[in-house]
């Protein structure tokens, strides 16, 4: 099946835009934003230039793992409308170019992070890339409906990397930020999978709606949302963030819960699409609140 991705005609001529597409720029923006929140929320000082370098490395590292993911998944990408125009399944790029591009950027981003910012952050970045490529892409994605639950950890690391870039270590707050993204990921992806179940089934990816059915997926979305929303309030409850973060986070969380319950009750694609769209906004706003809290309230807490 994998060879289906290789076009019959020889001579690939990828454009610069194809290489940029390999980096999954849309995913990158969320990763950079959560990384920035970790950087700003961390106590201590980092030179703005080094903060910029850290974010660049997080972005490039995330993009690089995306490129390796596209190299490995080129066969299944060819079978889904959402992904079939990517450079590899569309036959615009030689697979080995994509792999070389991804590996080079992975090594480069970790090296620059280590030499320029902090080796603790570099270690976490390397762990993130390795987790996404080896644990999620190669091991879990095609084998278990728990693929995105455990694989979601890769997307949860950036705030921790940003924090470590400033402090050189990891404490409770970055662990909570990690946990928030980790528990946000399943309801986010399962909402998408609910109305794309047919496509995942076609290419043999065992997403939860394909394996366990839509009813079970809706139940799991509600369960994870019930864990997620209280978790988002933990920084406030533990005194690590003020009401500037906590009060709006509570309101946003209630809206998210309402969306999850609507998915469970209405059982429509429209409800799932609504939750998927809101989930992205929700995470952006949560981390914007983390940033706002760090800038406005943390100085008064002596952080």
């Amino acid at each position: 099946m994998r060879e289906a991705a290789v076009p019959g005609a020889g001579g690939f001529s990828p454009s610069v835009a194809d290489f940029i597409a390999l980096l999954k720029p849309r995913v990158m923006s969320l990763v950079v934003f959560t990384g920035l929140a970790g950087l700003i929320a961390a106590p201590g000082h980092i030179h703005p230039v080094l903060a910029g370098v850290a974010l660049l490395c997080i972005a490039i590292g995330a993009g690089a793992s995306g490129a390796i993911n596209m190299w490995y998944d080129r066969d299944i990408d060819a079978g889904m409308t959402r992904t079939q125009d990517r450079p590899l399944p569309a036959g615009r790029m030689d697979p080995s170019s994509a792999l070389g591009f991804g590996v080079t950027l992975s090594v480069g981003s970790v090296t620059v992070m280590g030499l320029g910012v902090h080796w603790a952050a570099a270690g976490l970045l390397a762990l993130t890339i390795a987790f996404y490529v080896f644990v999620y892409t190669m091991w879990l994605k095609r084998r278990t409906p728990q693929n995105i639950v455990i694989g979601g950890a890769a997307g949860a690391f950036p705030p921790m990397i940003g924090w470590a870039a400033v402090t050189g270590d990891v404490s409770l707050m970055p662990v909570l930020l990690f946990a928030i993204v980790f528990f946000w990921t399943p309801p986010h992806f399962w909402a998408l999978a609910l109305y794309k179940a047919g496509e995942y089934a076609k290419v043999g990816v065992p997403m939860l709606p394909v394996v366990a059915g839509k009813a079970e997926t809706r139940r799991q979305i509600v369960i994870y949302s019930l864990i997620l929303v209280p978790l988002t309030l933990a920084p406030w409850a533990l005194g690590l963030a003020s009401a500037i973060y906590g009060a709006p986070a509570a309101v946003l969380g209630l809206v998210f819960l309402a969306g999850a319950l609507r998915v469970a009750v209405a059982k429509t694609d429209a409800a799932a699409k609504g939750l998927f769209a809101y989930s992205i906004l929700y995470l952006f706003l949560l981390f914007a609140l983390v940033i706002a809290d760090a800038l406005l309230a943390a100085p008064s807490r002596g952080l």
């Binding site: 001529s13 290489f19 230039v49 660049l56």
Partner: protein, 45 residues
């Protein structure tokens, strides 16, 4: 014939784009390492 010429010019255009991108990336890396060095020498962490 005209199609072949168009294909060749498209390939050249894309190759030129990739070469320019590589030049920009390399120049960017040089600037990045220079700036990091200056910041570190200045005691910025």
């Amino acid at each position: 014939m005209a199609d072949e010429r168009n294909d060749a010019s498209d390939v050249h255009k894309k190759r030129r784009g990739r070469n320019i991108a590589m030049l920009v990336a390399l120049a960017g890396l040089v600037v990045l390492f220079y700036v990091i060095t200056i910041v570190k020498l200045g005691g910025g962490n």
